[in-house]
């Protein structure tokens, strides 16, 4: 019989459809896994409500964990603070500046270049290739980069 740990391990193998370097577990969008009497129930929280990858991710979970009941929870329980430390480092290594923690974002608008680490960066566009990203430019290494929005 399948265990919750096995389900978590399977979910760790599902890449984010838009940024495949991170898994759904790294993104923190799996809120809970419950296994009882052979039935698997997964609570899944979308990142942005209009994210076109939402249905894709839900189907990927159902394919990976056959028979799982995937419940999409549409409340504010997910924020970018749920992205794991491992996930943040994977993002940075792939050239995406990870989101600032919510509290820090409100107190100090510091955005660090994922390539050279400089904080001498400027906002080019609040919006980017997907709803979850902004575009910034590093004045130090003269490299444009994508910044995860803090939400």
């Amino acid at each position: 019989m399948v265990t919750a740990d096995q389900v978590w391990a399977a979910l760790e193998e599902i890449p984010d459809p838009e940024i495949p370097v991170v898994s759904l577990v790294d993104l923190g969008v799996i809120r809970s896994v419950d296994v009882s009497e052979g039935h698997v129930h997964v609570e899944f929280t979308p990142t942005f409500l209009g994210c076109p990858a939402l249905e894709f991710m839900k189907r990927a979970i159902e394919d990976k964990v056959p028979g799982a009941n995937v419940e999409v929870i549409q409340d504010d329980s997910w924020s970018t603070d749920k992205i794991t430390a491992v996930g943040r480092e994977k993002l940075r290594a792939a050239g995406f500046a990870p989101p600032a923690p919510r509290l820090v974002q409100i107190q100090a608008q510091v955005h660090r270049c994922p390539y050279c680490g400089s904080t001498d960066t400027k906002l080019e566009n609040i919006f980017g290739p997907t709803p979850c990203r902004s575009l910034r430019y590093c004045e130090s290494c003269r490299q444009p980069f994508e910044q995860f929005k803090t939400i």
């Binding site: 209009g50 994210c51 409340d75 504010d76 566009n125 919006f127 939400i151």
Partner: protein, 204 residues
């Protein structure tokens, strides 16, 4: 409550549709990206709210007759001018913030409203940035004056004093939701065309 949520969802769907009309033709490439993203978010919010009201969000969004839509006239207007478009975005976001933060107190939809609010924060930053840039331009100021009665119609009467204070304008008679502008019929025709023409049982 359902009437309020339906109005909110219809507003988000229709303004998302209108904003998406700038995709590819905005005056700056950055604004092509911004308006496309904002439109995508707004339509995502509409879907999430429709799903609280029905099991089939597409049917609720696109299978109603024109008279059954509860959107505010502000979002229906076909604005071909960038200044007027920005004036609407700014007025809409300010009005929307007032009603969304009020909904965050609701035990049933408070969590969803809070999630929507987090995303809207970026729409507000965008709207305020443009408002700051255009605030002294006569065309923009005229557009704000023209659209102000429509903006008041987005929120409940009890919320209008707060809206007026927030945008520093005097309260005037609101253009209420319930009847539609002449711009809505062609938009309704376009929005619902695919659903109306698809054979019964089509899969997407």
């Amino acid at each position: 409550m359902n009437e309020l949520l339906l109005g909110l969802a219809d507003d988000e769907l229709v303004i998302g549709w209108r904003d998406s009309e700038w995709t590819g033709i905005a005056p700056l490439l950055e604004e092509d990206v911004a308006f496309s993203s904002i439109a995508q978010n707004e339509i995502g919010h509409a879907r999430a709210v429709y799903e609280r009201l029905t099991d089939d969000a597409d049917a609720l969004a696109f299978d109603r007759s024109l008279d059954e839509y509860r959107c505010a006239p502000l979002v229906e207007l076909r604005l071909l001018d960038w200044g007027r478009t920005i004036a609407r975005r700014w007025l809409y976001e300010v009005a929307d913030e007032i009603r969304i933060t009020a909904l965050m107190e609701d035990p049933d939809v408070g969590g969803l409203a809070a999630k929507i609010n987090r995303e809207e924060a970026y729409h507000r930053m965008h709207a305020e940035m443009w408002r700051e840039r255009l605030r002294d331009e006569p065309r923009f100021r005229d557009a704000v004056t023209e659209l102000w009665p429509y903006a008041l119609g987005v929120v409940l009467p009890a919320q209008r004093e707060a809206l007026a204070a927030r945008v520093a304008l005097d309260e005037v008679e609101a253009v209420e939701r319930g009847s539609h502008t002449d711009d809505f019929a062609p938009l309704w025709d376009e929005m619902t065309m695919v659903r109306r023409s698809a054979p019964v049982g089509s899969q997407w």
